[in-house]
Amino acid sequence: MSIAYSRSGLEGADARWQRFFEILPGLSSWTVLFGMMAVGLLFPQTAAALVIAFNLYWLLRLAHSTIFLVLSYALLRAERRTAWRERLGRLPLLDPAPDEPRPSRWLHRQRARALHAAGESALDPARVYHVVIIPIAKETADVVEPGLRSLVEQDFPTDRMIVLLAVEARASGQVRADADALVATYRNRFLDLRVALHPEDLPGEARVKGANATYAARLAARLLRERGIPFDHATASCFDADTVVPPHYFSCLTYHYCLEPRRTRASFQPIPVYHNNIWQAPGFARVLEVGSSFFQLIEATNPDMLVTFSSHSMSFQALDEVGYWPVDMISDDSAIFWKSYLHYESDYRVVPMYTTLSMDVVADTDWIKTLRGLYKQKRRWAWGVENFPLIARGFLASRRIPLREKCAHMLKMFEGHLAWATWGFMLTIFNWLPALYAGREFSNTVMYFTAPRISGLIFNLAGLALVITIIMSQLLLPRPPTRRPLLLRLRHALEWLLVPFITLFFSAIPALDAQTRLMLGMRMEFWVAGKGGGKKEEVTGNQ
């Protein structure tokens, strides 16, 4: 389908629909918030009933999510022991090695069955190439090099990897010099490693990461063509500059790519974790980022509705056919999925990969800067709502995307953004609003006495989910770099008590901020998070 996945240059009905769908999420969130406030003040009994209904809904959603979190973590743990490189050696045979863990073998058989059912055969892994694009705007060598080194340390042959350091021309001299130095150091370790210097302010581009990555991807396309590598035999991975991948990442990606039916119509989503400096970051940042990883773990169990997030990989052919990343959007990670989904009119999907890749927690030199940095990062994530009007317009225009899919995606996205901006307020403030503003009339009702009791029971049950979450976080996190790891782990367990504060200030408010900006037409500039601060501190400490 030919739809410009951009808000630029729209006219007439398209422009009006775009504006309508830009306003809708913010307006809905504000309506819910003001509506609850008004109902709380005017009809406290109704508000208390609504709060009970909401709390129950939240509890069941929490229970549902916790079940899938546990399942997803079990799969991640099972796949952790999978020897991906050896599996590649066995392809195109579809039988798993007998010594592999049982869940891993089961997953493999599922994939093989799906491939067989599609009437396809596995691609020869020896013919697969990988393009890795690392956009750089402000990140110096100390942020970029660990990731680059992790690419060098892959168990996959690096002579089939092309790595492009996509450096902004407007970047500082130091950043550019660092990129050149890294290229000089690691050039011989890959099929190709070079700097793609993205010129400043190209026509039609905003100052966003997607524009930089697109410029580098076009260069990668030229390099692939020069080397005679077919695009359908190549993947493209766009990694944040601080992304560190495990040694088996590209073996795992190759395996999934080879075994996936209609592999050129898929993105491959690993589980992002924030382990690079997790133990150096402040407690609230640690809880927040573990929560983000959990969210992705839960999402991974629902591939039908999975959307790409942060660092991920995809078919290079698809990337080329859809015209690369949007060059005027901040949320390039999810936008590329939706752009592909609309381009192929629903014939595009995200394949979850039960492997991790690690990034930095936002951790600056002091708490205030870290708080500010985290807030801005979460607001940038919430700015993903900018996709909503584009997808909605795309759905209106497309006749081939099934109505059921359109409704499911729109509902999930709309509910997701609404929940993101309002649940924090509902749980931390509106729960107490009817009682706080209770007049004599309401305080003399059974509801006044019973509603807090029911909510209390609900929150106690939710405490069970919190306990499971704490256990899961302890399992997911790496070993603390200290002589007393138990103390640090205990501290981290207690840090989960910050959840109400985090839910309000680093989830609901940034999301409401982003939606309000979109509603009012106040576009956001791309902001590069001050990552790596924790690590710098660590180096200083060691010195």
Binding site: A48, A49, I52, A53, V446, M447, I454
Partner: protein
Amino acid sequence: MKALRRALFYIFLVLYLAAAPTAILYALGYIYKPGSEHGLVQSGLVSIASTPDDALVFLGDSRYTRRTPAVLRDLLPGTYVLRLAREGSDAWQTLVEVKPERATLIDRVLLLPAGRATRIVHDAPIDALVDDPGEERLLLVHRKRLGDARVYDAGDRTIRPLLAAGDSPWADATVTRLWTVRGSPCALVHATARGDSAYLWFDLDDEDEPPLDITRLFPEPPDDVRWDPRADDELYTRVGERTHRLDLDAMAIFPDLAPPARGVALNRKRLYALTGSNTLVRVERDGDAPESNYTIPAELAKRLDDGAHHLHPLPDDVLLLRNEDGALLANTPPWVVLPRGVRALLPDTEEEQWLVTTERALGLLEVVEREDDNEEEDDEEEGKKGTEIRVRWLHEHPHPIQRVAWMHDNTHLLFSSEGRIWLLALERGGGGPPREIATLHRDGAFAFSERTGDVVFLQADRRVAAMNLLPPRSLIPLPSLEEEAE
């Protein structure tokens, strides 16, 4: 995974569809009572708390395992006998009506100590007991002699002479008039001795400070003297229809602060005066032009007589006027709240409830929405739109009521009558008829300290006695924000 997700979705959906309405219905009071007569019924509850707490709770024939404070839930509508029992306290009971969906709040039950004992706090005979100063202090006056006057501090239960130690030229003076203001720790005494007279200003908080002689601020005897407890460095005097302000710091008189007035009121540091032209004027303390005027409705003006009136500005722009005959009038239809007999209006400490006392009855003022819509248009011009002031009578006593005091966070009233002190519980205190507390001197003077829980009174033999009714307050009394700002 997909099948599991779908299965869980439907399970959770069914769970939600079942649990949410059930929880909401339960929160509204609906319960299921087995049996053909009951089925699904809407229940009520009773929230009960007592002072002191930890009392056994009996409702009807049931004894509850929970002790006060307790919430008794899932009660079928009806009338129950609610009883509380606690060792060391008098048994207490009341009739409580449980209504569907409603919560009955009886959260201020006062369990009186069993075998209440009185203790003598001042063994010498006393003529009069003045209970207003600062609510924590009492003035004990004997033989009208200033040197014999004592200050009883109910907070720390000590007693001391009103005049500081040492020779005072006024020790032999006779107290001819005495002014106090509720909530203020100060007292103004007019004393005469050997043909001389003086106006002496006492700050009872400062026991070492001699009284301030402010006689020169009174060139003529006042009809009335008032001050705001929040600003007791300035007094307002009334001489006929004239109102003056006296600045105690500057020792200066600011005469004729307000226009000639039929009545004045001090409210939140502002002076309100009702002029002869039936205009209510709010007067600035420096006597500058009035900040705002309010012409009282003509219908109300018609009902005012020519005499002086007590003004009572209430919240929400309600103005009450009380004349010398005790007629209580309001600036909202039907204008006359009570035609005669009102002796005093006594606000509670929060100024949320106003007690009306007549010779033999106690009632509470209520602002209610008026139901008659036809008059609405007229009312908007004439008075306050849509509200009516009524009196809800609490108790009618067979004998004249002498003194009344709020107590226990404004949920009870203490009053004296015919040589007895009575305790009357309001709604949250459980209601019911008044309970006799103690016998006292026939002049009925008593005082109550919320901090110590003591009621202090003159016995028949004129000795001052105290009886403890409430456990002492353990909280540190913090200054109010307003006091802080000052």
